[in-house]
């Protein structure tokens, strides 16, 4: 009388659909996760975990309407969540930072500013990170951003301006905190 519900293998049509989405989006998603996490393994893991979930649960019609936008948002949100959990660590993995690629001609001041940017980005709302990364990491135009995020060009321009201002303010406050320490 009981049928144990065993996790079934995804049907081949679903697997093909998800694989196509993976091939179309993975490079962009990896770069997105890497720009937040600055760690190759974590950056590979985040989109892979999201596609694994799609294979388990299927692609819902809502996702299917704008799959790239859904995947991009999911990767940003998940990466931010990992980044924030990292901040709870009492110490930084100095070895990993030292191994990060550093241009020989970069001054330490510049490097500190880049580091501050990385920290500040982790403190912004996901919506602000969505738009900032699309512009500065992926070099998207306002129109491309509007299409991916499902909004208007005017809204993109306004949100971009506000997000940049918030990021700048957040960086300044981090710098002040650092000076007072």
């Amino acid at each position: 009388m009981f049928d144990m519900a065993v996790a079934d293998a995804p049907d081949s049509a679903l697997q093909r659909e998800v694989e196509q989405l993976f091939r179309d989006n993975y490079q962009m998603l990896f770069r997105t996760a890497y720009s937040i996490l600055r760690n190759r393994e974590d950056a590979e893991d985040v989109p892979q975990a999201i596609f694994l979930k799609l294979l388990r649960t299927g692609v819902s019609p809502d996702v299917g309407k704008n799959a790239s936008g859904y995947l991009y948002r999911a990767v940003v949100n998940q990466s931010l969540s990992i980044l924030r959990s990292r901040k709870r660590q009492p110490a930084t993995n100095s070895a990993e930072l030292l191994n990060a690629p550093v241009h020989a001609d970069e001054s330490s001041t510049n490097e500190r500013r880049h580091q501050r940017l990385y920290e500040a980005m982790g403190g912004l709302a996901p919506e602000a990170v969505h738009i900032l990364l699309l512009r500065y990491v992926h070099n998207y135009s306002d129109a491309q951003i509007a299409k991916l995020l499902g909004t208007s060009r005017g809204a993109v321009a306004l949100r971009l301006y506000r997000s940049r201002a918030r990021l700048r303010k957040h960086m300044q406050s981090l710098e002040k905190d650092n000076e007072t320490r």
Binding site: R23, Y26, Q27, I82, L117
Partner: protein, 584 residues
């Protein structure tokens, strides 16, 4: 746009420019990994049904004519099922009191509830931890007693390690900054180890195996204690107790206590006793290693690893450069005099090993993974082991892994080393014992961060080259790991050096000694240079001494690294007995 805003936008554009230059990632391999993770989940789910047939609270679908009765039955079965939780969880749950489930900690309840919801028992639980531990994909902090399920990547933080316990009783001690995930294999559990160091104490496997997989090797065991290191440059396995099979590509090697093997010369060997010093159970591991009888060790079928043919005879000292008949021969410290770096004295081809005019002292060091023993790390034995030189010519049997000279010198040629160990036991009647003692050495630490620059080439290592030539001395390191520098410093100083920098990349740097000049032929009547051949101390020894004197200052100025005097634990090989060989 305001001026400040425009500058900030430029900064953002410039700052993220590096990310836009990231090379594309291999997409096929990434997709394969997704599918492999999915397959593992499906395997474990179906395997679960057979093993956990009494699993409580299964997801049920109701069919038939009596849904209400069936629902009631499901509820009753669920309630019974809780009491039938697998023994390891029910014992965990009841450990803190007689109330069982109601006495369990939130973490223990989490283990049980996850198990019930997913119908998959966790593969391991967190037994204890000294620092932070995260489930990486979801950024969740794990506490003691938390369960770890298949395919979840976990990571220890920088401030301490952790111990995981598998369901078969095996324990995995993770060092700080280490990362792994667990997967179900066909006949056991696979630890997929991506970064850091672990010591695995494998419980007796009743039917299957425990596997450890890194990016470039696989280890299978049935009950033993061993250490695995994994990094960007490669992997290393070292055995503390029992026997381990290491699969590298198409070859499989068997390792015994005290032996180790690496996939890359970028991971030079340190004695196993020193490698395990970070463990909270270091004393027990060291005691196990000290109990190990050293030679001879047997391979499959009880056969010894032996050379096909081996000839040992007293070397012709007449041919030794710079020596006259009757000159006393003494063992010099290795700098500039490591006898294995002279190609005319040491050749290793796939079928043949030739070493000429070599004191037994060095031969023992080579056989036991330390081609240039630091002061006090190989002791005992009569004076002739350091002064009499021998020629060795040996034929290596077919089927032996093809080792390079560098692998043998860095202690990464276990089968060839065992052949040398057995040769020493047969011909020199050598008996050794292993001890640990604290000796005066150095810790290599970071004094000024940022002076070392990462090499543009992070894939290949090049042996340090004395590039001074005539007139000056300079040692260049190109794409070199810090472990190589530490080993070289140990050779130069004659004292053990422990790398405590925590740096794991490859670096370029050059140590220059313009103050020291090689002796050059001087025209008659010219003023005598400071170092001259024929002085009481040989000119090579004089150069070595000067390099040793200048080294700490040069090292810090050039690399920002410092040698700090420290008492460090070192593995010491003691020669208990040895005899001169009869000529063959």
């Amino acid at each position: 746009m305001k001026h400040g805003e425009s500058t900030f936008e430029d900064f953002l554009t410039e700052s993220y420019a590096r990310l836009r230059e990231l090379p594309p990632v291999p997409i096929d391999a990434a997709w394969d990994r997704v599918i492999s993770r999915l397959d593992n989940e499906l395997d474990s789910a179906s395997g679960n049904l057979q093993v956990w047939v009494d699993a409580p609270c299964p997801t049920v679908t109701i069919s038939g004519r009596w849904p209400a009765l069936v629902t009631l039955a499901a509820v009753v079965l669920c309630a019974i099922g809780v009491s039938l939780l697998p023994s390891r969880f029910s014992s965990e749950l009841s450990k803190k009191g007689s109330g069982g489930l109601y006495q369990a900690s939130p973490q223990q309840f989490d283990v049980a509830s996850r198990w019930m919801l997913t119908r998959q028992p966790p593969l391991a639980v967190v037994e204890s931890k000294d620092g932070g531990l995260d489930r990486v994909s979801v950024g969740e902090v794990l506490n003691v007693d938390a369960g770890i399920e298949a395919n979840q990547r976990i990571k220890t933080h920088s401030e301490g390690g952790t111990v995981l316990r598998l369901s078969d009783g095996s324990k995995i001690e993770m060092r700080s900054n280490s990362e792994l995930s667990l997967e179900r294999a066909d006949d056991g559990v696979r630890i997929y180890f991506t970064r850091g160091e672990v010591i695995v104490n494998a419980g007796k496997q009743r039917n299957g195996h425990l596997y450890v997989q890194t990016k470039d090797l696989s280890v299978s065991v049935v009950g033993t204690v061993f250490l695995v290191k994994a990094g960007q440059q490669g992997s290393r396995v070292a055995v503390i107790e029992g026997e381990v099979h290491v699969i590298k590509g198409a070859t499989t090697e068997r390792l015994f206590p005290g032996e180790q093997v690496a996939t890359s010369s970028l991971m030079p060997a340190r004695p196993v006793i020193e490698e395990v010093s970070w463990s909270r159970h270091a004393k027990q591991h060291i005691a196990m290693l000290q109990q190990t009888a050293i030679p001879p060790v047997t391979t499959a079928g009880g056969l010894l690893d032996r050379f096909e043919v081996a000839s040992i005879r007293l070397g012709d000292e007449q041919r030794s450069p710079g020596l006259r008949p009757g000159d006393p021969v003494r063992v010099r410290p290795c700098p500039g005099g490591n006898p294995f770096e002279m190609t005319q004295l040491f050749q290793l081809n796939p079928g043949r090993l030739v070493m000429r005019r070599l004191p037994v002292y060095y031969l023992i060091g080579l056989a036991y993974g330390n081609s240039c023993p630091a002061s006090g790390t190989l002791t005992g034995g009569p004076e002739w082991t350091r002064t009499s030189r021998y020629d060795l010519e040996a034929t290596i049997p077919a089927g032996t892994p093809k080792y390079t000279k560098e692998q043998l010198l860095s202690g990464n040629a276990p089968q060839l080393q065992r052949m040398l160990q057995n040769l020493l036991a047969d011909r020199f009647k050598l008996v050794l014992k292993r001890e640990v003692k604290e000796t005066q050495g150095y810790d290599l630490v970071i004094a000024q961060a940022g002076k070392l620059k990462l090499s543009a080439d992070q894939t290949t290592d090049q042996v340090p080259v004395d590039q001074g030539g005539r007139g000056a001395i300079a040692i260049s390191y190109l794409s070199a790991p810090i472990a190589r520098l530490a080993r070289h410093l140990q050779e130069l100083s004659g004292r053990p050096v422990v790398d405590k920098t925590g740096l794991s990349g490859l670096y370029d740097f050059r140590l220059e000694f313009p103050e020291i000049a090689y002796p050059t032929p001087q025209p008659a009547g010219a003023p005598r240079s400071e170092i001259q051949p024929g002085d009481n101390m040989s000119w090579v020894d004089q150069i070595d001494q000067k390099v040793r004197d200048l080294l700490p200052r040069k090292l810090e100025a050039t690399t920002g690294l410092r040698l700090e005097e420290a008492n460090v634990p070192v593995e010491v090989l003691v020669i208990v007995s040895v005899e001169r060989p009869s000529s063959n």
